[in-house]
Protein backbone atom coordinates (compact mmCIF):
# COMPACT_ATOMS: atom_id res chain seq x y z
CA UNK A 1 0.00 0.00 0.00
CA UNK A 2 2.64 2.48 1.11
CA UNK A 3 4.80 1.37 -1.78
CA UNK A 4 2.05 2.10 -4.28
CA UNK A 5 1.52 5.56 -2.83
CA UNK A 6 5.25 6.30 -2.90
CA UNK A 7 5.41 5.01 -6.45
CA UNK A 8 2.51 7.17 -7.60
CA UNK A 9 3.94 10.25 -5.89
CA UNK A 10 7.34 9.69 -7.47
CA UNK A 11 5.84 9.04 -10.90
CA UNK A 12 3.62 12.15 -10.80
CA UNK A 13 6.46 14.27 -9.45
CA UNK A 14 8.83 12.85 -12.05
CA UNK A 15 6.36 13.45 -14.83
CA UNK A 16 5.45 17.03 -13.98
CA UNK A 17 8.88 18.22 -12.89
CA UNK A 18 10.54 16.30 -15.71
CA UNK A 19 8.24 17.73 -18.36
CA UNK A 20 8.62 21.28 -17.07
CA UNK A 21 12.41 21.00 -16.87
CA UNK A 22 12.53 19.52 -20.34
CA UNK A 23 10.44 22.31 -21.82
CA UNK A 24 12.60 24.93 -20.13
CA UNK A 25 15.76 23.25 -21.33
CA UNK A 26 14.49 23.07 -24.90
CA UNK A 27 13.62 26.78 -24.85
CA UNK A 28 17.12 27.60 -23.65
CA UNK A 29 18.67 25.29 -26.26
CA UNK A 30 16.66 26.89 -29.05
CA UNK A 31 17.57 30.48 -28.11
CA UNK A 32 21.23 29.61 -27.80
CA UNK A 33 21.22 27.70 -31.06
CA UNK A 34 19.86 30.79 -32.76
CA UNK A 35 22.64 32.86 -31.17
CA UNK A 36 25.29 30.48 -32.51
CA UNK A 37 23.68 30.03 -35.89
CA UNK A 38 26.61 31.84 -37.49
CA UNK A 39 29.15 29.43 -36.02
CA UNK A 40 28.73 26.23 -37.98
CA UNK A 41 30.06 22.94 -36.66
CA UNK A 42 30.71 20.46 -39.44
CA UNK A 43 32.02 16.93 -39.72
CA UNK A 44 34.27 17.76 -42.65
CA UNK A 45 37.95 18.61 -42.32
CA UNK A 46 38.24 21.25 -45.02
CA UNK A 47 36.61 24.59 -45.47
CA UNK A 48 36.83 27.21 -48.16
CA UNK A 49 39.56 29.26 -46.63
CA UNK A 50 43.27 29.46 -47.31
CA UNK A 51 45.88 28.38 -44.78
CA UNK A 52 47.17 31.92 -44.62
CA UNK A 53 43.81 33.30 -43.52
CA UNK A 54 43.73 31.28 -40.29
CA UNK A 55 44.51 33.22 -37.15
CA UNK A 56 44.39 30.21 -34.81
CA UNK A 57 43.01 26.71 -34.49
CA UNK A 58 42.15 25.16 -31.10
CA UNK A 59 40.50 22.01 -29.88
CA UNK A 60 37.15 22.76 -28.24
CA UNK A 61 34.83 20.36 -26.49
CA UNK A 62 31.63 20.45 -24.53
CA UNK A 63 29.82 17.82 -22.53
CA UNK A 64 26.51 17.39 -20.76
CA UNK A 65 25.09 14.70 -18.51
CA UNK A 66 21.33 14.47 -18.52
CA UNK A 67 19.24 12.14 -16.40
CA UNK A 68 15.90 10.52 -17.05
CA UNK A 69 12.99 11.31 -14.74
CA UNK A 70 11.34 8.59 -12.68
CA UNK A 71 8.25 8.33 -14.84
CA UNK A 72 10.18 7.93 -18.08
CA UNK A 73 12.45 5.42 -16.44
CA UNK A 74 9.46 3.26 -15.58
CA UNK A 75 8.13 3.77 -19.09
CA UNK A 76 11.44 2.63 -20.57
CA UNK A 77 11.48 -0.36 -18.25
CA UNK A 78 8.06 -1.42 -19.49
CA UNK A 79 9.07 -0.78 -23.10
CA UNK A 80 12.03 -3.09 -22.61
CA UNK A 81 9.66 -6.01 -22.18
CA UNK A 82 7.74 -5.46 -25.41
CA UNK A 83 10.58 -4.11 -27.50
CA UNK A 84 10.29 -1.38 -30.10
CA UNK A 85 11.13 2.26 -30.14
CA UNK A 86 12.02 3.69 -26.74
CA UNK A 87 10.47 7.11 -27.19
CA UNK A 88 11.18 8.15 -23.62
CA UNK A 89 14.93 8.12 -24.23
CA UNK A 90 14.71 10.30 -27.32
CA UNK A 91 14.49 13.68 -25.65
CA UNK A 92 17.13 12.67 -23.12
CA UNK A 93 19.71 11.96 -25.79
CA UNK A 94 18.65 14.83 -28.01
CA UNK A 95 18.98 17.31 -25.16
CA UNK A 96 22.33 15.96 -24.01
CA UNK A 97 23.78 16.12 -27.49
CA UNK A 98 22.52 19.58 -28.40
CA UNK A 99 23.62 20.90 -25.04
CA UNK A 100 27.10 19.39 -25.54
CA UNK A 101 27.39 20.99 -28.99
CA UNK A 102 26.25 24.35 -27.60
CA UNK A 103 28.77 24.21 -24.77
CA UNK A 104 31.47 23.41 -27.29
CA UNK A 105 30.43 26.40 -29.38
CA UNK A 106 30.42 28.62 -26.29
CA UNK A 107 34.04 27.65 -25.67
CA UNK A 108 34.97 28.46 -29.25
CA UNK A 109 34.57 32.17 -28.53
CA UNK A 110 34.71 34.25 -31.69
CA UNK A 111 35.70 31.34 -33.94
CA UNK A 112 34.27 31.18 -37.46
CA UNK A 113 33.85 27.46 -37.90
CA UNK A 114 34.33 24.22 -36.01
CA UNK A 115 35.80 21.46 -38.16
CA UNK A 116 35.84 17.68 -37.84
CA UNK A 117 33.12 17.62 -35.20
CA UNK A 118 32.70 14.34 -33.37
CA UNK A 119 30.00 13.38 -30.94
CA UNK A 120 30.05 10.51 -28.50
CA UNK A 121 27.50 9.21 -26.05
CA UNK A 122 27.84 6.92 -23.08
CA UNK A 123 25.62 5.91 -20.22
CA UNK A 124 27.03 6.84 -16.86
CA UNK A 125 25.84 7.58 -13.38
CA UNK A 126 25.42 5.62 -10.22
CA UNK A 127 23.88 2.70 -12.04
CA UNK A 128 26.39 2.54 -14.85
CA UNK A 129 27.94 -0.62 -13.48
CA UNK A 130 24.56 -2.30 -13.34
CA UNK A 131 23.71 -2.58 -16.96
CA UNK A 132 20.01 -3.07 -16.57
CA UNK A 133 19.24 0.47 -15.51
CA UNK A 134 20.05 3.82 -16.95
CA UNK A 135 20.98 6.53 -14.54
CA UNK A 136 21.94 9.19 -17.00
CA UNK A 137 23.75 9.65 -20.25
CA UNK A 138 26.70 11.79 -21.17
CA UNK A 139 27.19 13.38 -24.55
CA UNK A 140 30.52 14.86 -25.52
CA UNK A 141 31.11 16.96 -28.63
CA UNK A 142 34.55 18.00 -29.79
CA UNK A 143 36.09 19.60 -32.83
CA UNK A 144 38.65 22.08 -34.04
CA UNK A 145 37.60 25.71 -33.81
CA UNK A 146 39.08 27.86 -36.57
CA UNK A 147 39.34 31.61 -36.17
CA UNK A 148 40.08 33.55 -39.31
CA UNK A 149 42.09 36.74 -39.50
CA UNK A 150 39.77 39.72 -39.66
CA UNK A 151 40.58 42.07 -42.48
Amino acid sequence: MEQIIIFIILAVLGYTAGTLAERKHYRSIETRERRYLNLPAVTTKKESFKESEVENAILVSGNAVISLDYFKRILAGLRNIFGGEVVSYETLIDRARREAILRMKEKAGRADVILNLRIETSSIGQTANKRNTIGSIEAIAYGTAITLKKT
Binding site: A41, A76, N80, F82, G84
Partner: protein, 104 residues
Amino acid sequence: MILTNIESVPGKSIVEHYGLVSGSTVRAKHVGRDIMAGLKNIVGGELTGYTELLHDSRQQATDRMTEQARQLGANAIVNVRFATSAVAQGASELYVYGTAVRVE
Protein backbone atom coordinates in the same frame (compact mmCIF):
# COMPACT_ATOMS: atom_id res chain seq x y z
CA MET B 1 20.00 12.66 -51.24
CA ILE B 2 23.62 11.63 -51.65
CA LEU B 3 25.32 10.29 -48.55
CA THR B 4 29.09 9.87 -48.34
CA ASN B 5 31.54 9.33 -45.55
CA ILE B 6 34.30 11.27 -47.23
CA GLU B 7 34.89 14.99 -47.37
CA SER B 8 33.24 15.48 -50.73
CA VAL B 9 30.96 14.00 -53.32
CA PRO B 10 33.30 12.76 -56.09
CA GLY B 11 32.46 14.22 -59.46
CA LYS B 12 30.49 17.08 -57.95
CA SER B 13 31.48 20.23 -56.22
CA ILE B 14 30.08 21.48 -52.95
CA VAL B 15 28.52 24.91 -53.35
CA GLU B 16 27.03 25.59 -49.95
CA HIS B 17 26.95 23.88 -46.59
CA TYR B 18 24.38 24.16 -43.82
CA GLY B 19 26.11 22.72 -40.78
CA LEU B 20 25.45 19.61 -38.77
CA VAL B 21 22.51 17.29 -39.32
CA SER B 22 21.81 14.24 -37.19
CA GLY B 23 19.34 11.46 -36.66
CA SER B 24 18.94 9.12 -33.74
CA THR B 25 16.66 6.42 -32.47
CA VAL B 26 16.58 4.17 -29.43
CA ARG B 27 15.31 0.66 -29.82
CA ALA B 28 14.59 -2.09 -27.35
CA LYS B 29 14.18 -5.71 -28.20
CA HIS B 30 11.39 -7.69 -26.63
CA VAL B 31 11.81 -10.39 -24.04
CA GLY B 32 11.17 -13.17 -26.56
CA ARG B 33 14.09 -12.09 -28.69
CA ASP B 34 16.24 -11.92 -25.59
CA ILE B 35 15.48 -15.50 -24.77
CA MET B 36 16.17 -16.66 -28.31
CA ALA B 37 19.44 -14.75 -28.35
CA GLY B 38 20.36 -16.29 -25.01
CA LEU B 39 19.91 -19.74 -26.50
CA LYS B 40 21.83 -18.76 -29.60
CA ASN B 41 24.67 -17.48 -27.45
CA ILE B 42 25.36 -21.04 -26.34
CA VAL B 43 26.27 -22.16 -29.84
CA GLY B 44 27.50 -18.82 -31.14
CA GLY B 45 26.91 -17.50 -34.63
CA GLU B 46 24.93 -14.60 -35.94
CA LEU B 47 22.02 -13.29 -33.91
CA THR B 48 19.82 -12.53 -36.89
CA GLY B 49 17.11 -11.03 -34.69
CA TYR B 50 19.53 -8.40 -33.46
CA THR B 51 21.11 -7.84 -36.86
CA GLU B 52 17.70 -7.01 -38.30
CA LEU B 53 16.73 -4.85 -35.36
CA LEU B 54 19.91 -2.79 -35.52
CA HIS B 55 19.72 -2.52 -39.28
CA ASP B 56 16.15 -1.26 -39.17
CA SER B 57 16.92 1.22 -36.44
CA ARG B 58 19.98 2.54 -38.21
CA GLN B 59 17.86 2.99 -41.31
CA GLN B 60 15.36 4.98 -39.28
CA ALA B 61 18.10 7.18 -37.82
CA THR B 62 19.46 7.79 -41.32
CA ASP B 63 15.98 8.70 -42.53
CA ARG B 64 15.65 11.22 -39.74
CA MET B 65 18.99 12.80 -40.61
CA THR B 66 18.02 12.96 -44.28
CA GLU B 67 14.75 14.60 -43.27
CA GLN B 68 16.68 17.32 -41.43
CA ALA B 69 18.95 17.88 -44.44
CA ARG B 70 15.96 18.14 -46.73
CA GLN B 71 14.45 20.77 -44.44
CA LEU B 72 17.64 22.80 -44.83
CA GLY B 73 17.51 22.58 -48.61
CA ALA B 74 20.54 20.28 -48.92
CA ASN B 75 20.92 17.62 -51.58
CA ALA B 76 23.81 15.68 -50.06
CA ILE B 77 25.30 14.81 -46.67
CA VAL B 78 29.04 14.35 -46.53
CA ASN B 79 31.34 12.82 -43.94
CA VAL B 80 28.56 10.77 -42.39
CA ARG B 81 29.40 8.94 -39.17
CA PHE B 82 27.55 6.20 -37.36
CA ALA B 83 27.67 5.69 -33.62
CA THR B 84 26.02 3.02 -31.51
CA SER B 85 25.75 3.10 -27.76
CA ALA B 86 23.99 0.94 -25.21
CA VAL B 87 21.90 3.31 -23.13
CA ALA B 88 20.37 0.52 -21.07
CA GLN B 89 20.22 -3.22 -21.05
CA GLY B 90 18.33 -4.42 -24.07
CA ALA B 91 18.10 -0.94 -25.56
CA SER B 92 20.64 0.57 -27.88
CA GLU B 93 20.84 3.93 -29.47
CA LEU B 94 21.75 4.39 -33.10
CA TYR B 95 23.10 7.77 -33.97
CA VAL B 96 24.14 9.08 -37.35
CA TYR B 97 25.44 12.54 -38.16
CA GLY B 98 27.04 14.41 -41.00
CA THR B 99 27.36 17.78 -42.73
CA ALA B 100 24.49 18.90 -44.94
CA VAL B 101 25.65 20.39 -48.22
CA ARG B 102 24.38 21.40 -51.63
CA VAL B 103 26.34 19.97 -54.55
CA GLU B 104 26.26 20.78 -58.24
